[in-house]
Symmetry: C2
Subunit: 218 residues, 2 copies
């Protein structure tokens, strides 16, 4: 709380932030009146006008229930973000045995934000099982978020569909002419090569998430 904010102002800003953080409707003046335990909407109106004038909040003119936060009660800018729902499709590196990602209907989504994945197109998540990615510093239990794509560059960590094995896997990708080398990220396992027509790139790892408190999306 900065010294220039009164208690009701602080409470108003906190109430608004809670609503916004919760993806809930912006409060009306009446709802704020109740939350701040005031006895007249007029006081809310005045608080709102003052805070708007000082750049803490904004509203869309001529539109009801559109209060938004510009600056929190601590005085710091509040930046709106975009929530990104990423489908959790299964396990990596293996066990996710689909040859195509289209039309797959996951039951589970992981809510991320634009800060983590600025580009939200074509994302999906896999839970890492085992230690085959440990040399990439990706652990058992981690979540990896991938972007669907069909091309890869050398050194990219990708999910590929292996046609002959009828299986998908996650490995580091290297191309030598018409040969694709797939390196497991574990020294104990061997790189293997495949003719390019036997390897279909499905997605590229773009984000790694590890909780040390509890399983993510469990």
């Amino acid at each position: 709380m900065t010294p220039s904010l009164s208690v009701p102002e602080t409470k108003l800003l906190d109430t608004l932030q809670r609503r916004l953080d919760a993806q809930a409707p912006s409060p009306t003046f009446e709802e704020l009146r109740v939350a701040l335990r005031l006895t007249s909407k007029n006081q809310v109106s005045q608080l709102v006008a003052g805070l708007e004038q000082r750049g803490y909040i904004a509203r869309a003119a001529g539109r009801k229930r559109t209060l938004t936060l510009l600056r929190g009660s601590d005085g710091r800018p509040y930046h709106l973000t975009r929530v990104v729902h990423v489908p959790l499709l299964g396990l990596a590196p293996a066990s996710f045995g689909q040859d195509t990602l289209d039309g797959f209907a996951p039951d589970e989504y992981l809510a991320l934000t634009q800060d983590l994945v600025p580009d939200e197109t074509g994302l999906y998540a896999l839970r890492v099982s085992g230690d085959s990615l440990s040399d990439a510093h990706i652990n058992d239990g981690d979540l990896v978020v991938l972007r669907q794509q069909q091309e890869a560059s050398d050194g990219d960590l990708v999910q590929v569909w292996l046609r002959r094995e009828d299986a998908a896997t996650v490995k580091r990708y290297f191309r030598q002419g018409k040969i694709i080398w797939l390196h497991p990220e574990n020294r104990a396992l061997k790189p293997r090569c495949y003719p390019e027509e036997d390897v279909r790139v499905q997605g590229k790892v773009v984000l790694v998430l590890r909780s040390l408190e509890r399983a993510l999306a469990a």
Copy 2:
């Protein structure tokens, strides 16, 4: 798109989801009418009623502009999340040279979600610099999110304030009686021990984030 949804229904649901994901005000019927290129709010009203009846959307009775999404146009449940703003306080393991986290005013926040950090109390983030945590599979450039706390258990990865060195650091914590052992997570570096009164636990690592696409919160 599921086969039981009409084109206007799909567009309505998508419009609503975009608003919710963006932490923007729920649309009015008139705004939906414009977005769906209809000529009468009555059609919106009917779409809304139908979708509400089928469990795709909900609204707060007797409250304007409160449409919310229960199920997306793909038919999958849409779960609201909570956005969690985590202050980015500096670098880890070292360089963040404060003996206390209170009153620190960061310029930068990272927006996460409740899915990643179910408990949002006392969180802050540090950017990892260097390879001193590499044995913990935490890389240079990763972000670590910590929870402020003053106690730690053996094996916890914690930020501590070292009184004699007038410095903070992030290491793995082990206690032997009145001696605290702090293990860097890099085989090349040595564990060091400190009398307990010289070590103040400031926070514990709860989440590790690594983007392979671009720097997070840059």
